[in-house]
Subunit: 230 residues, 2 copies
Amino acid sequence: MKQRILVVEDDSAIRQGIVDSLKFKGFEVFEAKTGLQGLEMAISSDCNLVLLDLILPGKDGLEILREVRLTRPALPVIILTAKGDESDRVQGLQLGADDYVVKPFSVKELLARVEAVLRRSAERPLDVKDFEVPGGKADLARRELRFEDGTRRELSEREMELLRYLVCNPGRAISRDEILARVWRIPAGRMETRTIDMHVVRLREKLRDDPDSPKVLLTIRGKGYMFAAT
Amino acid sequence: MKQRILVVEDDSAIRQGIVDSLKFKGFEVFEAKTGLQGLEMAISSDCNLVLLDLILPGKDGLEILREVRLTRPALPVIILTAKGDESDRVQGLQLGADDYVVKPFSVKELLARVEAVLRRSAERPLDVKDFEVPGGKADLARRELRFEDGTRRELSEREMELLRYLVCNPGRAISRDEILARVWRIPAGRMETRTIDMHVVRLREKLRDDPDSPKVLLTIRGKGYMFAAT
DNA sequence: GCGTTCTTTTACAGTTCCGTTACACTCCAC
DNA sequence: GTGGAGTGTAACGGAACTGTAAAAGAACGC
């Protein structure tokens, strides 16, 4: 099966060069010219790797990276930087970039790094950080909640993703539209059904959150759901 | 879904240039020639972003910005300034402008800033500050009042907006017409019903304000309502 | 295939919001 | 005190929103 790579780069000459060489190597390639576009494609297309220019019009590449990590924490990312930007590079790696390539780079070097990162990521299916929930913590790898009293509850994939997204945005009401876009990854979707609500019901139950007056996953009427900060 | 942008600029040549390039980029565009008109449109139209010239006939751009913030605290605003006006720029940012562009500017630069600001505001739909009320404070995100004794009372969206508007104008009697225009956002509305009064009743109750001799939300007979200055 | 588990849809009940109406009451000028 | 304008508030009802059971559909492993 073809690996899918997303290239986010505003300079069309450079982008074209990268795209061509990747296609020549047998990858399926998506292109984005802006940070905004790149972010959306990284979330909605199921690419396996992102090549991300840090200097982009509109939105900074590091910001893109940060946001992509919210929805796809394990998506491999290689950042492209100009020679000088050492601090950006460091920041990028801290944000979970898997590697970086300094411009100008040779096609050969780029391809080598791409393949190296893909190989590595294949062996490491998930290195996502676990996170805390009130009274316990969430274990991403096992997909379960572990409470301090030792009890455990399994979560389904979707439940885990929804919970993680809410927990990563504490204190902010998340609209159903945003949840659809970022967790379900269906971009413009109209909300007709109660799918999200059902997942919240189940999450509350597993989190032992009283549905009649929830303390963890709050309902903000007319706005959406919110993970209660602290 | 199209983003809606309001352009407030008196110079028709400049305004037309901006409007055209925004439309070309697929935005829906509203225009205002004067500050007053701009203020009304910013409040009553549901635009997502305002481009605001600071030098306007009639009413100063900074004044407009201040008033817009009362009703729509999170509405993204980019201010347009002439080269020299550094102090205006600083003041604008202090008033909560999201970015500024110095005239003369290139279309490309303007568009880049517009997209950056829209993007930022989409992910951070609310960074509005909570505010104090006697005996406690108002938590915007949770939409509740938290009193110093630890008790909480939930507010509806409208109640919160009304309270915020009154609190932001302490010591000034606000007429029902102004409340309708700025909180209900219905421009011309005649007052036929007791809707506003009912909301005040409910607010007083939640604020624990004695309706027989209110200390927090005062009735100014013949004028309107007033939040008692500290 | 077949059962199991997860996810989505449907349907409906319950809740909340909020504008309206009706009426009592207050204030004030006369 | 009288009358009228202004205000307080109980009560109602429609609309919008949310919670949840149950059924239907998908995905997966065996």
